[in-house]
């Protein structure tokens, strides 16, 4: 029994820290987030070609390193901590996972190597106007034609949808309902009848786009797995994304705590550091409880990625807890910083906005708790 990072993971954490300290961080974020693209192409290239991060969890057969999901812990925590603006999450933790979980051998061999190399970025276009991750909310439809498929519909809130090279669209067989008839299609953003429109986001550090499909034609080979998917596979893809988001949230929350504590040590009022006031000290203590507990939940969820029965429960537990934990920490951090925490130049608002966007991104804490209640057969 060892519920801790191993030596290789600690080393990865160290190298991630070194790289991101230099290349990411809030100053960088404040600049990158003003661009429509939303990330620094040079940083992406280094992450992909020098550091090999994009290849980490992709099996060796498809050009990756074949490491496990727990090996993402140090990376995702560090990315959160240093407020990295990057399509890593959408490409690896959503796009690549979709192909891995749902694709045929042929499809994996075709797309995963370029994703691993970072030359292609993928994303998952799932949610629609309702913004939920329920099967019922998928209204985009596909119909079979002689040569392949035609797809119609509108996808909303697609992470990095405007910069991805491979867009994986969830659509249902015309006339199907509920969890039946759902397929994932991999498509080129330049496809006919497809239009992409970047959204202006509250959280500028994470970009989204809306995508409209108007009689978009697709080849037969674009359908992942060559058939409609069992809903459990779709759910597993979403859960893996949830686990990754939880890990990122832990990193963000830890940073909020750290900056608050650092500030509470040096800021003096009434002739004493504000951190010596219990009203502040106790807030920090409560934040530590949240950070460490969120970490336990997220690590456990990452470990559960290899234990298929446990994943659903663990992912929703982590998502519900980590979302609330990060929100509290980000909010308290602003409070502890006082006026300076309310300024554009200070990083606190980036984490607060990220907390809000993360809380909504893959299902609210309430949605996840309701799912847990169902698993408890309540």
């Amino acid at each position: 029994m060892k519920f801790a990072l191993n030596d290789e993971q600690e080393a990865l954490a160290e190298s991630a820290k070194r790289f991101l300290q230099e290349k990411a961080g809030c100053e960088a974020a404040l600049q990158v987030m003003e661009t429509e693209q939303g990330f620094d192409e040079a940083v992406w290239d280094t992450m992909a070609s020098e550091l090999g991060w994009t290849a980490l969890t992709i099996p060796e057969a498809y050009g990756g390193y074949g490491l496990g999901y727990t090996d993402l812990i140090p990376l995702l925590e560090a990315m959160g901590r240093h407020m990295l603006c990057s399509p890593f999450f959408s490409s690896i933790c959503m796009g690549a996972n979709s192909i891995l979980e749902a694709g045929t051998e042929e499809q994996k061999a075709k797309w995963l190597p370029e994703i691993a190399a970072g030359t292609s970025r993928a994303t998952l276009a799932f949610t629609e106007a309702g913004g939920t991750w329920c099967a019922d909310d998928i209204q985009a439809t596909y119909t079979r034609t002689d040569e392949g498929f035609v797809i119609n519909g509108t996808k909303h809130y697609v992470l990095d949808g405007h910069t991805a090279h491979l867009i994986i669209i969830a659509a249902r067989a015309e006339g199907s309902t509920g969890e039946k008839g759902i397929s994932l299609f991999v498509m080129d953003p330049a496809s006919q009848g497809l239009s992409i429109c970047a959204i202006k986001n509250l959280d500028q550090t994470r970009k989204q786009a809306n995508i409209t499909l108007d009689n978009t034609p697709l080849a037969l080979s674009a359908q992942l797995g060559g058939q409609d998917l069992d809903w459990s596979i779709v759910q597993r893809i979403l859960d893996l994304a949830g686990v990754a988001l939880s890990l990122e949230q832990v990193g963000c929350a830890e940073r909020c705590l750290q900056t608050a504590v650092d500030y509470a040590k040096i800021r003096t009022q009434f002739n004493r550091p504000i951190g010596s006031f219990q009203a502040i000290k106790h807030k920090c203590a409560d934040m530590l409880v949240l950070v460490e507990s969120a970490r336990s939940a997220a690590w456990y969820a990452a470990w559960s990625a290899t234990q298929s029965e446990a994943l659903a429960d663990a992912a929703s537990q982590a998502q519900s807890y980590c979302s609330d934990a990060l929100y509290s920490c980000a909010a308290e951090s602003i409070q502890i910083h006082g006026g300076i925490g309310f300024t554009w130049e200070h990083e606190a608002h980036l984490y607060f906005k990220r907390a809000q966007s993360s809380k909504v991104l893959l299902g609210t804490p309430e949605t996840h708790r309701e799912r847990i209640a169902q698993m408890l057969e309540l």
């Binding site: 519920f3 530590l288 409880v289 336990s296 708790r369 847990i372 408890l376 309540l378």
Partner: protein, 398 residues
């Protein structure tokens, strides 16, 4: 990262489980689920016999060295024992102040004679202990103890008052924090002295708690006596020993406790289904949240365990007490919400008897007070884990 216990550890688990199954029978069957917090002063004789049975088989203090009556169990095995003990619904440990607090303290700070004299009585439950720390004017500020011990030939003579002393009514011995040098600075003049309860100079008066029963007492020492050699860790060096005991109190057995909470949670979930409250979306949210927090309580402890080789208390270890005490309180509140009007109805018996969930609701108000109140815990976390500055000292001169 590996959340599974080893084969050897699982074999140990099997051994514990089998033994508990084979022994929680006959006269002991009635003890299942009894004697927990809030139910501490019930079935004393029967639970004492149970402690003795445990001790004879080496299970009373599994982690102690074999020579002292334990099984030299590893930390993982100790955890497994606690988990299985809770799972079997075996009764609350009547001897826990001896087995969990004094015993480890003696093993760590005591001399050979003291170990020989006192450890066997803890193992076979022939001597039960109570903890004489708190006083009317020394609670969170424990170093303010005023009870005095003065040497008179070969004996200490003790005068003063302790309060909130759990188990004083069943204990044969008390470990008492006494002031032995009134001129020394607050923390430097304290000794840790073992005092027999059955003597003229010691009187206890049970205090009734809000749960209706009396698990703790006031204890008065009036020229009480104990042999000179019953001081642990040296004269005037008691503060360090007292803090050692508190570390055992705060660190040990969280995983067994988590399982005990979990079985309370099962009762709450059952009640929610029975009353139909489980269909209420708000209740569903609260129940799911509790379940998540309970699982995290276990995960936090597993992380603490995984760092045990370093011997240094990790940040996640320092949050445990604050975490579980708050969680337990919430469990009690949600339980009451689920029961609605029915939560107000007590059993049809004499006295102030309570249903299990009512007891949970009321007793959990104490969880955030004893063993370092939530405020004290937050101070500890803020100052030791996060390095925040201490509060400025208030000058005592006016």
């Amino acid at each position: 990262m590996d959340l599974q216990f080893s084969k050897e550890d699982e074999a140990f688990r099997e051994e514990v489980r089998t033994w508990l199954e084979d022994n929680l029978l006959g006269e002991f069957a009635q003890l299942k689920g009894r004697g927990g917090p809030g139910d501490e002063d019930e079935l004393i004789a029967e639970r004492r016999a149970w402690e003795k049975r445990l001790g004879e088989a080496g299970w009373a203090c599994v982690a102690w060295p074999k020579e002292h009556g334990g099984k030299s169990a590893t930390l993982n095995q100790e955890v497994i024992f606690n988990e299985e003990y809770a799972r079997s619904k075996a009764p609350g440990r009547l001897g826990h102040i001896g087995t969990e607090l004094l015993g480890p303290t003696l093993i760590h700070f005591g001399n050979e004679e003291q170990k020989k004299r006192f450890l066997p009585g803890i193992v076979d439950a022939s001597e039960l202990w109570c903890q004489g720390y708190s006083e009317p004017n020394a609670g969170s500020d424990l170093a303010n103890v005023q009870t005095q011990a003065v040497l008179d030939g070969d004996e200490w003579v003790i005068n003063g008052q302790k309060i909130w002393t759990s188990h004083a009514h069943v204990a044969q011995w008390c470990f008492v924090l006494c002031r032995t040098d009134t001129d020394a600075p607050k923390h430097k003049g304290i000794s840790y002295i073992l005092v027999p309860m059955n003597q003229e100079g010691v009187e206890y008066r049970p205090i009734r708690q809000m749960t209706g029963n009396s698990e703790f007492s006031e204890v008065f020492f009036t020229d009480a006596r104990t042999p000179k050699e019953n001081v642990v860790g040296g004269i005037n060096a008691g503060w360090k020993v007292a803090m050692g005991t508190l570390a055992f109190e705060r660190g040990a057995s969280t995983l067994g406790q988590q399982l005990a909470f979990n079985s309370e949670m099962d009762i709450i979930l059952e009640a929610a289904k029975e009353t139909g409250a489980s269909k209420d979306p708000l209740i569903r949210q609260k129940l799911a949240a509790l379940k998540v927090e309970l699982n995290i309580m276990r995960l936090n402890s597993l992380r603490t365990l995984s760092h045990s080789e370093t011997n240094e208390l990790g940040r996640e270890a320092m949050i445990n007490k604050l975490y579980w005490s708050n969680l337990h309180r919430k469990m009690g509140e949600v339980a009451m919400e689920i029961l609605g009007q029915e939560s107000l109805v007590r059993p049809e018996t004499e006295g102030y008897d309570l249903h299990k969930l009512q007891r949970l609701f009321l007793f959990s108000r104490a969880d955030t007070i004893y063993a370092g109140s939530n405020q004290i815990q937050r101070n500890i976390i803020g100052e030791r884990a996060l390095g925040l500055p201490r509060e400025p000292k208030v000058s005592t001169k006016t």
